[in-house]
Each structure stands twice: as C-alpha cells, then as structure tokens.
Amino acid sequence: MSHFSVSFDRRTGTPEAPVRVLALRGELDAHTAPDFEAALQACLDDGDARLVADGSGLDYVSSAGLGVFMAFVEPARDGGGDLKIAALPERVFEVFDLLGFPTVFDMHETVEGAVTSFEGA
C-alpha cells in the first residue's frame, strides 16, 4: 500500500522572513510526487521561498520524488530562498547521496539545523 502525505502547517523563522517546514511522510514515488509538487507550488504561490523538507517520516523515495526536489530548488532560490532537505533516514539519505544531492542541495541532519541555517542568509 503506497501512502504519502505532506503537511506544511509549521511556519517558523521571523515574521519578516518565515521558513516553511514541509513534513513528508510515507513513500514519495511517481504516484505521490504530484502531491509534493502541489504543496511546494502552493508555498511558492504564497510567496514563501524559504522551505525545509522534513524527511524524517519518509520511507522511500523514487526518481520521480527526487525529480520534484530538483524541479523546485531553482525556483526557490530564484525567489530569494532555498529548498533544504533535513532529517532524512539513513536508507533514504543513501539514495540522495548516491546521486550527489548533498553537493547541490543544502542538506541537514535536523530540521532545526536547516531552519537555523536560513537565519544567516
């Protein structure tokens, strides 16, 4: 059973420079990637470009899921923010690592670390 959810109710950072945390849960694959895409697009549409994907609840990520990160990192950066990836479980991190994501993306071990890293920017 493939199940996946994105919730982005958390908003931290300062009121002038909010950071939105998207909590990912379950399996991010070709079937569920559009949900994630829609959530990211909604953030950008709201004018929120400082985004943290909290991957602590991810069980699996496929190439389609990885593609969503790739597709949204540039718009986020163009919007003066970034799409950071945080708290990936080891097995999922391995997939990101193999493809070289840590080189291109700002990846953090904890969500707090990812949020804090925005403050210097």
Binding site: A30, S63, A64, L66, G67, V68, M70, A71, L98, L99, G100, F101, T103, V104
Partner: protein, 733 residues
C-alpha cells in the same frame, strides 16, 4: 389592492348610472350604455388581476374550496333576494321597476363579479400546472373569448335578444373552457389522502355553479320581466347592473362547473393518472434510450448529445444542454458540448454554466431557478426561452472525488417561468443520475482506449528502443563481455552500450534515465548519440560524462535526471578507468587466491546528469577511478533494479549480496555469470516480471598471457582527478 378598490368603485359608478336611469325614467343613450358595460367588464377584469396577483401558490384543496365557499354564499344571497324581493323589469322601457331593484342588482352583480374573479384566480394555478406554453396560450384565449363574448352584448337593452355573435364567441369560450378543464395534470401531484377531499370539493364547486345558473336563469333567484309570464324569459339580477357583466359571469360560472366536474371525474376514473402515466412513459422512454446508448455509444460527445435530447424528448423541458468538464485535457471549467431545442451557441450564451455548475456542486443537487431571467447567472433575455432553468449535476459529488466537483451539469430550460413541478424535477434527477452513470462508463471506456493506444505506442517505442541497445558486443582479445536488460514495462529508462575503441579498448556505459515510458526512451536515444560520439573523442570516462552532462542537461525536462557509469578497459594494458555520475557503484572482484584478491564497490564522487545544469559543479565533483587489473578480474556495471529487487519479505538484494555473488561465481566466465545472475535475480524477486528495469554489463579481463606493466594514466583530462586503485579510501576490502 388599488386595482380591487378601483374595480369596486367602477361597479359603483355603473350602479349609480343605472339608478339614475330608473329615477329619470329613460335608459341611457347607446354610447353611454356601451361605456357602462365596458366599465363593468373592466372592473371585473381588474378584480381578477388583483386576486391573481396576490394569490401566490396555494394548495389545490384551497383552490377548490375558496370558489366553492364563495359560490355557496352567492347562491344563498341570490335565493334570499329572489325570495324576499319582488322587483321586475318593465318590458316596454327595459328599465327596472324601482331604484331598490337596481340596489339589489348592484349587490348581487358585485358579488357575482367577485365570485367570477375569485374562481378564475383560484383555478388558474391548477389549470396552468406545469406551465406549458400551450396551456398559457389556451388560458389567455379563454379569458379573451370570455371578455369578447361579454362585449358582444355591451349597450344592448335588457329586453332585446342576444346577437348571433355572442353565441359564436360564447361557444368558442366554452370550448376553450372545456379544453382547460381537461388539463388535470396537477392531480398526479396530489397526495393520495387529499384526493377524496379534492373530489368532494370539486363536485361541490360544480354543483354550486350549476345551481347558480339554474337559480338565476328562470329559477327562484331570477328577475322576471313584466309580471313574469311574458315571452321574454327571466334573467339574472346582475344583468340589470350590466348585461356584459352578466354574460361574463355566465361564462365563468359555466367554466367553474365544467372544471369542477372534470376534476371530480378525473379523480373518480383516474384520468389524470393516465395522463401522468403518459408523462412517465415519456420519461421511461428517455431513460431507456439513454440506457441503450450507454451500452453501445461510448463516445463522450455522442452521449452528451443524447443526454441533451432526453429531457426535450420526454417533454420535461423545452430546451436542454450539457456542459462538461474535461480534466484529462486540463479543462476544469465546464463547457457546453451538446444542446437540444436551441443551438450550441445560444446554449453557451444563455447561462454562465461554470457558475451554475459550482452552485449545483455546492447545493449537492438540482438547482432550480423559477424565474431564471432574474438570476444574475442567466444571460438569456426575456423571450429567449429560458424563463425557468434547472441545473442538474451529472454525478454525485461524493463518488466523484475531491472538491465535490462532478463531470458537469445538465441544464434544462422552460419558456415559461415557475414551470418545474416536483414530479418534473424528480424525473429529471433520475435522468441526470442515469446520464452521469453513462458518462462515467464512457470515460472508463475512453480511458481503456487510451491505455490500449498507449500500449501500442509503447510497444512501438520498445521496438525502437531495442535497436538502441547494441545488436552485438565487440570481440576483443583478452576480454569477455556479457550484457542483459529486462525492462519492467514495455519501455524502460535503462540503457547500456558497449563500443570498441581502437584495437584493444572497449568503452562500457550503463545509465538510468529517471522516469519511464516514451520520454525516457527519447532521452536514452540522446544519451546513445552522446555516448557514441564522445567515446570516439575521449578515452577519459570523466570527460565523457562531463560532456554528456553539458549536452543533455539543457534538453532534460524539469526534474528529470540520469545516472550513468562509464568504464574504459584497455585489454592490452590491463587497465580500467571509470567514472560515475550519480550511478550505483560498480562491482569489481578479484580472485581470493591472489594476495591482492577481494571485492570492491567503486564509488567515486559524481553528480547525476541534469542535477547541475550549469556544469561547473558537475565537473568539480567528478572523480575518475583508475585500476590496474589482474587476470580474471570481473567488473559489473548495473542499474539499481538489480540491487533494489525485493524478496517476499520486502528485503532488498543490496550491494553486499550482489558483490558476494559475483565474487563467488566470477570464475565461470562472463556469459555463464550473466545467466547465473539473471536466475539469482528472478529467484530473489520471486517473479519473472521485474518491478524495476534491470540492466547490467559484465566484463572479465582474462589477460593476454604475458606480464603487464602498470598503466600510465598520468595524462588525465583537466576535468577529473584520478585516484589510483586500490588506494581509494571509500572502497571496502
């Protein structure tokens, strides 16, 4: 209300004039007489309009009871006057015997006018039930003929016979009344428990009207001419007030009698249910034709046309049109795709289908606009034929997914306002439900067709893709090569290629384009071009991959990437140079009998192609690995379908198991090892159909039987940094 007051004042004026004529002893002149009659008729008409305007919607029982009650009252009053007063008409002058006769005539005439107006205003909602255009026309005709009949005797003295014209118009008026009396559709809406009461009231009304007629014409309530024995018959008191008014009331009274009788008979013999059954039969026909269609016609457009025809054919509406969404083509707003009873253009212009669609979705059911022309969402003007409009959602929102939006709406219009009765709506809702089901079948069928088309397209793409894979592997002395590819679907994103470089070298590439299907096959074809050209330009795997990133990154779609590993093996020198662009690590095994034997995963740094589109980071990150081979060394390049294969418990095959398997069986040679590995993969996943594309290339260097010097790889390309095997710290030993 002022209309009613005016009417009474008008009648008072007429009565005063009649009284004055009696006092003066001479009838009014012809012009004045005609004027008075017209005034009286006008007053009665005004009374009718005043009552019809205030009526609103009343129940059928009330519609029958009110004129019945009032009729009884007038009957009693007429009898009372007839019994207690002995006035008469002078046959010579045609004038009443005294002023008091005129007073009584005025009282009775006004009551009769009120009764007639009330009767018509009360029966109107019943006769006009359903508001068919033809019924409205018939009603207007009846009223017109009645007035005309009345006006034919305007200004005539009481003692002169009626003109032939009155008989003609009167007969026509009665005919129209009969036709109206036969319209008893409202009875089918009547609750069963009200039927007996309605029958009794209708019979009572009819009897009262007949009694009124009898009493006034020659009966105990009539006004005699002369001493009552003359050749000229007695006539109603009302005629003293106005002969035209009397004629008017006569027609209306006859109509009341007829209508009451027809209603009573309908209820008694179930005539109305027969009519209702005709209606039901029409609905059934429409539904059946739709059911037939949904079995045969699975084309959305044809089905939409049938859905639009249904309500018109079943006479549930004068025009109907269908507006559908088409999410598969990105159309979430409904557009009018079929219309019946008006053109597609007119239907599109008639109403804001999108707004109505959303309103109906919100209401979660039919949306009825009784006065459509007054609604802001309806653009039709009066006269365009959209006076009432029902919007029916096609499909229940609960089963049609999120947002409560359905496939579209069926809009049904009538040319008259307030025209949809509860039974019409029930039938339309049933019809719309069936239509939604048919549409859903059609969509499913279209999906199936689309899938079949895609399957054909994919199998074609598969043919093309097959030709992208090498048709044969190069034969190089000292090298054994074997390759396998098992796509999970018809067209996968995996790619491999082997190319001979000079006499002694081969270049081997294994790549995996993210995504599947036709787009992946396109990227694969592009990759093949880059590989075929690049392998001839450079012997450096790192440089080739960097070139591939430069060439492919701009054309890869948003979020699409490819991982690749490229190895160049020199069979003469016994060297391996390898670079990895985000791909699974290559497996290298060496005979454990040798002191330097073991198994390794070659995982040099490198980004997947497409991840860094500018290219600078890609080049900076890429690390090329160079290995001095020993005879018997076996290299495996593969895609993640091999390592990510899951067994029944969901456990992944993994790198360690793969490397161990290759090490254990490497001695059998590349070709046999390929077959063993395929069998192992099948056994692990427990299926002949892999979950993911699985592709691998095996390369075994047997050496050329002579000692070899370490390869000179110092002359590397600027894009890469070389790490000498086995000093790479990443390698597990």
């Amino acid at each position: 209300m002022s209309l009613g007051v005016g009417a009474v004042l008008g009648l008072a004026v007429v009565a005063a004039a009649r009284g004055a004529a009696v006092t003066g002893g001479a009838a009014a002149g012809l012009a004045a007489a005609i004027g008075l009659d017209v005034l009286a008729v006008g007053a009665a008409a005004a009374l009718y309009f005043a009552l019809a305007g205030t009526g609103g919607r009343t129940g059928p029982l009330r519609s029958l009871a009110v004129p019945f009650g009032l009729g009884l009252g007038v009957l009693v009053l007429t009898l009372a006057v007839g019994a207690g007063f002995d006035g008469y008409i002078d046959p010579k002058t045609g004038l009443p015997d005294r002023t008091l006769t005129v007073v009584w005539a005025a009282v009775l005439g006004t009551s009769e006018a009120a009764l007639g107006a009330t009767l018509l205003a009360s029966l109107r909602p019943l006769a006009l039930h359903g508001r068919r255009r033809s019924t409205l026309l018939l009603w207007a005709t009846f009223l017109g003929l009645t007035v005309l009949t009345a006006l034919t005797v305007a200004g005539r003295p009481l003692v002169v016979y009626v003109p032939t014209a009155m008989a003609v118009f009167g007969a026509a008026s009665v005919l129209a009344g009969v036709a109206l009396a036969l319209r008893q559709r409202w009875i089918s809406d009547l609750a069963r428990r009200h039927r007996v009461a309605a029958g009794a009231l209708a019979l009572g009304l009819s009897a009262t009207m007949v009694a009124l007629l009898y009493v006034q014409f020659g009966g105990p309530g009539a006004l005699p001419v002369g001493d009552g024995t003359g050749r000229i018959p007695d006539f109603p008191y009302t005629a003293v007030l106005s002969r035209s008014l009397a004629a008017l009331v006569l027609s209306v009274t006859v109509f009341g009698a007829l209508y009451g009788l027809a209603t009573a008979l309908s209820l008694l013999f179930g005539l109305s249910t027969a009519a209702a059954q005709d209606q039901r039969a029409g609905e059934r026909r429409a539904l059946r034709s739709l059911a037939d269609l949904s079995g045969r016609v699975l084309d959305r457009a044809e089905l939409a046309a049938a859905i639009a025809r249904g309500p018109v054919d079943a006479r549930l509406g004068d025009a109907a049109w269908v507006a559908l969404t088409d999410p598969s083509h990105g159309n979430i707003r409904p557009t009018v795709v079929a219309a019946s009873g008006l053109t597609l253009d007119a239907a599109t212009r008639a109403a804001d289908a999108d707004a109505l669609y959303r309103a109906a979705a919100e209401a979660d059911g039919a949306l009825v606009l009784s006065h459509a022309e007054a609604d802001h969402r309806v653009r039709a003007r009066p006269g365009d034929g959209v006076a009432s409009l029902v919007t029916l959602p096609l499909g229940a929102s609960s089963i049609d997914g999120p947002g409560g939006l359905t496939r579209g709406v069926l809009l049904v219009a009538r040319t008259t306002a307030d025209a949809f009765e509860p039974d019409d709506l029930a039938a339309l809702e049933t019809f719309a439900g069936q239509a939604a089901l048919s549409l859903s079948h059609a969509d499913l069928f279209a999906d199936a067709l689309e899938r079949e088309r895609l399957a054909r397209e994919l199998s074609l793409a598969r043919e093309v893709q097959k030709r992208l894979f090498p048709q044969s592997l190069p034969e190089v002395e000292g090298l054994e090569l074997a390759a396998a590819e098992r796509p999970a679907r018809e067209v996968g994103g995996d790619y491999y290629d082997v190319v001979r470089i000079g006499d002694d070298c081969v270049g081997v590439m294994v790549a995996d384009v993210s995504g599947k299907g036709t787009p992946a096959a396109f990227y694969m074809a592009e990759l093949k071009g880059v590989f075929q050209a690049g392998s001839r330009l450079t012997r450096s795997p790192g440089e080739l991959l960097a070139g591939a990133n430069d060439a492919l990154a701009p054309s890869l779609g948003r979020g699409v990437f490819a991982s690749a590993v490229y190895a160049v093996v020199d069979a003469r020198e016994g060297t391996l140079a390898l670079a990895r662009a985000g791909h699974t690590p290559a497996v290298l095994v060496r005979d454990r009998q040798r002191p330097d034997g073991g198994r390794w995963l070659l995982r040099g740094d490198g980004l997947a192609i497409g991840l860094d589109r500018a290219g600078a980071t890609f080049r900076k990150t890429l690390r090329e690995q160079c290995v001095k081979l020993a005879p018997g060394d076996t290299l495996l390049l593969y895609t993640d379908g091999l390592t990510e294969a899951r067994d029944a418990q969901g456990q992944e095959y993994g790198y360690d198991r793969l490397a161990a398997f290759v090490e254990q069986h490497a001695h059998v040679g590349a070709l046999d090892l390929r077959d063993l590995l395929l069998a192992e993969h099948r056994a692990w996943s427990g299926s002949d159909e892999p979950d993911d594309d699985t592709t691998f290339v095996l390369l075994r260097w047997t050496g050329r039987g002579e000692p070899v010097e370490p390869a000179d790889v110092s002359d590397g390309p600027p894009v890469t940094e070389r790490a000498a095997f086995p000093a790479d710290p990443d390698l597990p030993v």
